[in-house]
Symmetry: C2
Subunit: 463 residues, 2 copies
Amino acid sequence: MVKQRITEVLRNGQPDESLVVQGWVRTKRELKGFAFIEVNDGSSLASLQVVINEDLPDYDSILKQINTGASVEIAGVLVASQGKGQRVELKANQVTVYGGADPDTYPLQKKRHSFEFLRSIGHLRSRTNSFGAVFRVRNACATAIHQFFQERGFLWIHTPIITANDCEGAGELFSVTSLDLKDVPRKETKAVDYSKDFFGKPTYLTVSGQLQAEVMATAFTNVYTFGPTFRAENSNTSRHLAEFWMVEPEMAFCDLKGDMDLAEAFLKHIFKYVMKTCAEDMEFFNQRIDNTVIATADNIINNEFERVTYTEAIKLLEKADVKFDYPVSWGLDLQSEHERYLAEHLFKKPTIVTNYPVQIKAFYMRLDDDEKTVAAMDILAPKIGEIIGGSQREERLEILERRILAQGMKPEDLWWYLDLRRFGTVPHAGFGLGFERLVQFMTGMGNIRDVIPFPRTPESAEF
Amino acid sequence: MVKQRITEVLRNGQPDESLVVQGWVRTKRELKGFAFIEVNDGSSLASLQVVINEDLPDYDSILKQINTGASVEIAGVLVASQGKGQRVELKANQVTVYGGADPDTYPLQKKRHSFEFLRSIGHLRSRTNSFGAVFRVRNACATAIHQFFQERGFLWIHTPIITANDCEGAGELFSVTSLDLKDVPRKETKAVDYSKDFFGKPTYLTVSGQLQAEVMATAFTNVYTFGPTFRAENSNTSRHLAEFWMVEPEMAFCDLKGDMDLAEAFLKHIFKYVMKTCAEDMEFFNQRIDNTVIATADNIINNEFERVTYTEAIKLLEKADVKFDYPVSWGLDLQSEHERYLAEHLFKKPTIVTNYPVQIKAFYMRLDDDEKTVAAMDILAPKIGEIIGGSQREERLEILERRILAQGMKPEDLWWYLDLRRFGTVPHAGFGLGFERLVQFMTGMGNIRDVIPFPRTPESAEF
């Protein structure tokens, strides 16, 4: 008999079809002479209703084992469903229980659990409706990202996780070492003797693959990274993870406008893909988590993003009839409240802010002709704030060297990065998308720890 | 005028078509009254031939800037090519040089460079034919992997990079810490005071996502990881990297046979996809690197893999008329020479060896009924040796606990992993593919450092 995933059965199953499903029991209802069980295999939010008649051999003993959480295999025949909400149900001819789940100890009973409690059982939470939906949508977002770039001839490149560059960007770094922390070797000067360490020098977990992506873009024109990045920032908030995934496209022969156009097309593509492939999950988020997520998706898909310069944005914020906690003034960075005011209240859609003051942006961003601003862009999303940050990169050797020095960094540490400007330099641009922020934005989930399978945060590296 | 990638132009361009290409100059030939340049943008191995006539304004000055490595934009009209090897060439109407490349200092001149030298200029090596082909094939392998699993309803899941589990598998671990190595805090007992560290306990870089993939498989049935993994092993060989990418599918309701069937279909799919989408690059490898790679790909695509038990394999090795350096005896692990004998000499195709002795395999592999072997399988590839290692997992709580204890590990450290066997346990199986080994196998590249953009090896974390 054919083994089928439950999503297939619910979508295409026909009465009188014989098949086998496998999954975990969500609920059991015993009635006179028969029982209903709901079986879920993670392929869809909806479970398949299975009817077990008392004429099944060992009916009583099987029913006793089938508690919430038990794993089962059911062979049977589809019948048109009498009940509401499903087209077909499965009449069981044979039931195999692989593993029970003692109702006294299995933590996932029928009642609703708080997300906080579910975080403490991160190894089981994916068996709930909410986390099932989150991780299906997360997978769909990831697939949409690869599809978008591959269709456009971008190469997926793997930039290093372990790096000896401590100057890639902002944020505190995790050290990576093979030294014994109980007994760190010293030189005569008492400094750490890194010659004994695996790489012969201090190494860290990467905060961005951008610099290396630039290397690859100057050979393949269009590339993207999609990999983990790290911040050792002690921020115990609902918006920060110590380990998160980032997507970083990098395009040679591309300026800031091309960068913005690509980023906008990219976000639209992901939302379209998820709305199409995860309609049931998105409906669930809209009903149970945040009743604006579908309207937001439609808004993104159907509207052009707003584009304003930083200088214009400051003027708009200065005119706003809202009291901000943080000051607004040309030269200061935008705070979360300012970003949300622009995207949520003023424009009510994703907003691209461009050409930020040179002082508040990274050394590699291209200096504008006025020498006061750089060709940077941030995409601010309603409720989330900055979801994408990008820029045209400085391709002029002399200016880049000057800016590296101005940051107190040493050009010789970035000799290879500077070489890209010495040999066949090109205008180029790229951006970074925080993948978990995207999934949060898509699903409406309030805490970023609930959109990654195993969150890493201060004091917490469970599972 | 339409901007086109060179791969498109070479494939679909028609005479009289006007277009713009952008890329880097590979070679220049000056003849009387005109010049040929080869422009490459990384989209294909082949470059586009561009003809520049002396009637172009500033002909002399432009030609002087166009050296190997220079970045250019050419607007022109396609004409049928007179030369061999290309259908069309581009007659330039306008040439823009973005960045020159001084022939006295640009390291990539026309002559052939050793891979070893090219590793020292890892930021430029992707601009050569060989590395261009390697990274296009690498991207195609990665795309084929996602496509294979997504079409079959597997979810891509991101398992953690930073882990507090020091018992995931074999191999030495890198420590991850936010402590200052110059001044590691101590407790009164002199032990390291990990309460001051970011996660409040010792943490490491993961060696495998398998245990967490099992968590996700018991909610979604079929999942896979594709992410970086690490070994702090001081092996300075052509087969080892400290940082490499691994693909690890995990399937609930699956036994060892299902695992082998999936792995075989998986490898066949990847080879088919790459042969179809990277034909030109594969032809290049066959001509320049290893003249067996296309035959090997055909062999994999068209033949069933050999399947033998470890016990049978030992008998075959004992009968072999070859002198091995390492002893062959039931209970000892197979060495590389044994693996290669089986796959390369005896069966001449990928060979799956199953049911290894319990003593030489990991604690999580399912104990066979004879209690002497476990339901493990390794796929051995000609020339490469082990390319995939997998197993059915032990789903029986008592046996798993016993095996954890037998390894000197503490069951309570793996409470969540054991919970998967307490609540709705299922037969399940999975495998791991070393992604760089696959790319080596595909391309015939001899050194694993040459199939990853930025290799991490002992004493080396450049770029």
